[in-house]
Subunit: 125 residues, 2 copies
């Protein structure tokens, strides 16, 4: 099991219910959530994440990920590093190749937040 | 009922299931989702959205929103415009004041996407 990144530990839990229960969202919680959303807010990174989510163990090496988005390995590594820094992926070296794996808790935390917001909106849809 | 923004109409539906069912995410879907995530990926905008979600009709004027984030009205208007451009809010002028309202479908679309990703991860948590 890959070690959780320090940044994720610092940021988690973002908040139990940041967008649904009250009118105020603490700045710290907003900042932690914004870091993850910013990392996700790129078409290439979303495509890489979609591919990883569909793999066994949600894991793949850079060499497999580059053809998915039709970009060079250095460019893909740059995007993967953004996802790693924000705690959405972890990285492990296997011999000559570098493998990235999804951190489920990070995706869960964002999904919970938006799910709460969705429930708050139920009455107006 | 406020009119849906053209950008939202162009972008919706992002996809029925973009992060869960298959290894590929079409570039168009990824770009539409990235636009909304990028608009949300800012602590001030998340705080403004949290406040709006807690209001009756998910609506407030700029004059009420500025004190929530302790910023000037022009700065808050800049942030609100980003949320409006990405289809997350709509804007209406009421006499001298400008009111912003949450577009539920935009939040739902993002939440559905991440919820699907979360379900895809169920087995590894």
């Amino acid at each position: 099991m890959p070690k959780t990144l320090p940044l994720l530990e610092d940021a988690s839990p973002i908040c139990c219910d940041p967008l649904g229960s009250s009118a105020t969202l603490a700045l710290d919680d907003a900042m932690a959530l914004a870091v993850r959303l910013k990392a996700l807010a790129d078409p290439t990174r979303l495509q890489l994440l979609a591919y990883l989510l569909a793999q066994p163990d949600q894991e793949a090496c850079t060499c497999d990920l580059a053809p998915v988005v039709k970009l060079s390995e250095p460019t893909v590594s740059h995007h993967l590093k953004k996802l790693e820094t924000s705690g959405i992926l972890t990285k492990e070296r296997h011999g000559m190749s570098v493998h990235y794996r999804v951190v489920p808790e990070a995706i869960h935390a964002i999904a919970r937040t938006l799910d709460t917001a969705t429930r708050a909106l139920t009455q107006v849809v």
